[in-house]
């Protein structure tokens, strides 16, 4: 089988070499054929099942449009999006993170959808999603979904360890996790570079990743507050076998959790669906609680993450692209998306649909203490070559925290000053 295929490829190579110039894969559309729109969505932002259903439904409603979805890896995504919006045949729709959309909006490479805002019901959009994509009256990013992290836990392992109530303070959380972390069971699987989780702990202490001083931004990981946050992270990270030198995507932490011997991970509630998709035996054994704060009065601070949908200026099919965005960001599919993925839908008016969802309920409590990354258009540059991740690994592997924090803060300062 393999041999035949190989021979065929060699043959094809010879023949196709001369045709290579034409094999670029862009579609030239003649009017009587269906238009194909290219859509980029991020890895694991929705389940395969949801995506298939949505695309099938969209293609039924729009028989003249075919949808070609490309799932993008988070690794190196900034570079790919820049390339795409700067190219002459960009994809028609791109999902971009809410911390990154400001930069692309400022570049002039995105279509202004300001005149569609009222049609899309923009008055009800969640500000945390709508604002980064807006410059004055121009709206470049259309809110897609929001989410913040909670603790996803294995109820069976909690029961086995005799823990009946999810912890509500940091002390109780550490105590419970220490109890859970025995034998084959990992108390928590926390990879060394989950910088969103670290950011939460830093905010809890009253610190931040970077602070603004007049017109300039300075990295602030070396403040006593931020160092205390890192200290807590290290304490928690030690209560499991999370690798110190990688993030939650490498390996995907839902895969690790679905093996069944991990008691907790810090993830968006949608992870619960993906875990069950990977290992159906864990159905009904997954619980959620808000990341505990320093006291029981206030949940732990969390990063309010989310995505926008954008249409590049050079998109080949802007009208079809808009139809697609309007459908995915419209109320019907936003409700389905919220229920399916436990995401916060893009409009405040839709929040009710999550009332019966335990994951979303935990998320909603945490959302009261939601934070954003430093509000600089250059923040994307920090994430593109993230010094916070290096810093975390260094501290976890024994470097002097203060010294490592100073170096990392300098990197952040330099990235935020645009060079």
């Amino acid at each position: 089988m393999r041999k035949n295929r190989f021979a065929a490829i060699v043959l094809a190579a010879g023949l196709a070499a001369s045709l290579a110039a034409c094999s670029s894969g862009t579609s030239e559309d003649s009017p009587d054929e269906a238009t194909t729109i290219d859509v980029w969505l991020m890895r694991d932002s929705v389940t395969d099942a949801f995506l298939d259903e949505f695309v099938a439904d969209f293609e039924t409603d729009n028989p003249d449009t075919d949808v070609n979805v490309q799932i993008q890896e988070w690794d190196g995504i900034g570079q790919r999006v820049v390339s795409a919006i700067a190219s002459n045949d960009a994809p028609d729709v791109i999902e971009v993170g809410n911390t990154q959309v400001a930069q692309y909006a400022a570049s002039g490479g995105l279509t202004d959808l300001g005149d569609k805002v009222s049609e899309l019901g923009g008055a009800d959009w969640i500000p945390g999603l709508a604002e980064p994509g807006r410059i004055d009256d121009a709206q470049y990013g259309i809110p897609y979904y929001a989410a913040n992290r909670v603790v996803v836990y294995n109820t069976e392992l909690f029961e086995a360890a005799g823990i009946t109530e999810p912890p509500t303070t940091r002390d109780a959380w550490i105590a419970a996790t220490t109890t859970l972390n025995s034998g084959e069971v990992q108390g928590i699987y926390l990879p060394g570079q989950n910088w969103y989780a670290l950011a939460g702990f830093v905010w809890d202490e009253g610190g931040d990743l970077a602070v603004q001083d007049g017109d300039t931004w300075k990295g602030a990981l070396d403040t006593p507050e931020a160092l205390a946050g890192m200290d807590f992270y290290a304490q928690l990270q030690a209560l499991g076998k999370g690798p110190k030198d990688s993030d939650e995507a490498n390996p995907p932490q839902v895969d690790v959790f679905s093996a069944g011997d991990v008691a907790q991970i810090i993830a968006t509630p949608g992870a619960g669906r993906q875990i069950v998709e990977a290992n159906p035996e864990l159905e009904d054994k997954i619980g959620y609680f808000p990341v505990p704060g320093k006291t029981a009065d206030e949940p732990g601070a969390v990063f309010t993450g989310g995505s926008n949908l954008v249409i590049p200026v050079t998109a080949s099919h802007p009208d079809e692209a808009y139809t697609f965005v309007a459908a995915l960001a419209g109320e019907e599919w936003q409700e389905r998306l919220a229920v399916e993925m436990s995401y916060v839908p893009n409009k405040t008016t839709l929040a009710d649909v999550l009332a019966d969802d335990p994951g979303a309920a935990a998320m909603a409590i945490g959302a009261h203490n939601g934070h954003a990354t430093p509000n600089s258009p250059e923040w994307a540059a920090v994430e593109a070559n993230n010094p916070i991740k290096n810093y975390m690994t260094q501290v976890l592997t024994g470097a002097d925290p203060k010294e490592a924090a100073t170096t990392a803060s300098e990197s952040i300062t330099s990235a935020l000053s645009g060079g």
């Binding site: 393999r2 295929r5 490829i9 060699v10 094809a12 190579a13 010879g14 196709a16 070499a17 001369s18 290579a20 110039a21 094999s23 670029s24 894969g25 490309q70 993008q72 890896e73 690794d75 190196g76 570079q79 790919r80 390339s83 795409a84 700067a86 190219s87 002459n88 045949d89 960009a90 994809p91 490498n250 390996p251 995907p252 895969d255």
Partner: protein, 277 residues
Amino acid sequence: MTPRPWTRTALGVAAVITLLMSVFPVYWMVTTALKPTPDIQSETPQLWPSTLTLDHFATAFAADGFWTFWRNSLLVTVGSVLIALVVAALAAFAVARLRWAGRRAFVLVVFAAQMAPWEALLIPMYVVMRDAGALDHLATLLVVYVVITLPFTVLTLRGFLEAIPVELEEAARVDGCSHLTAFRRIVFPLLAPGLLSTSLFGFITAWNEFAFANTLLISHQDQRTLPVWLSSFGNTFGTDWGATMAASTLFMLPVLLVFAVLQNRVTGGLTAGAVKG
């Protein structure tokens, strides 16, 4: 000279150490690819695999897009080698056999181009190709590879051509052949070894090239070539080191074959050419 026994032993030990240091990483790649996962993820590594399995190769073959990336790599490699050969042969003939104003300047330019610091040109190349709307096309990569290998190919073929006596060719022309016919009938067969070695060089260059493939084919993931795909193995295989090593082994195989063919030329060439510098 007859070495004393202890000298001989010392030499033997040094030889074995050199051999181990050089081939161990290759050995470790191949054996990891053949070990079952529990043996790979073991606190005490097995230096000699106890059980062998082809599972990891199966995983690599089944990986998303594996065949696409093979096809892409083969396309650009074979395509660029063939085009470079044809283009270079024409130029080499003009340089070695014809006299024309500007010949010396041309050779100097080709010579300079052969030394071009391509690594420093990644960003301007990206901007230029973007302006030309040529990003994310395999054909763009193919053209870049042609130009990377072209100067070397021109100079080498010129060397071979000059070594072929002009009289042979002239004899053919006396018999009524045109320039090109003479080239085809007489020169080409004698040129074959030169064509072979330059195409092998082109093959290795294009097959291994990473930096431009990683810069010029960014957005369309199904346009990637094997080196780019392999460099992001974390996305494909996560921490499955067995599959990652299997993919690396498969990627290396063609080059190893090429080197096996090339080896006489390599060692022979070294003594004949480089030493005289």
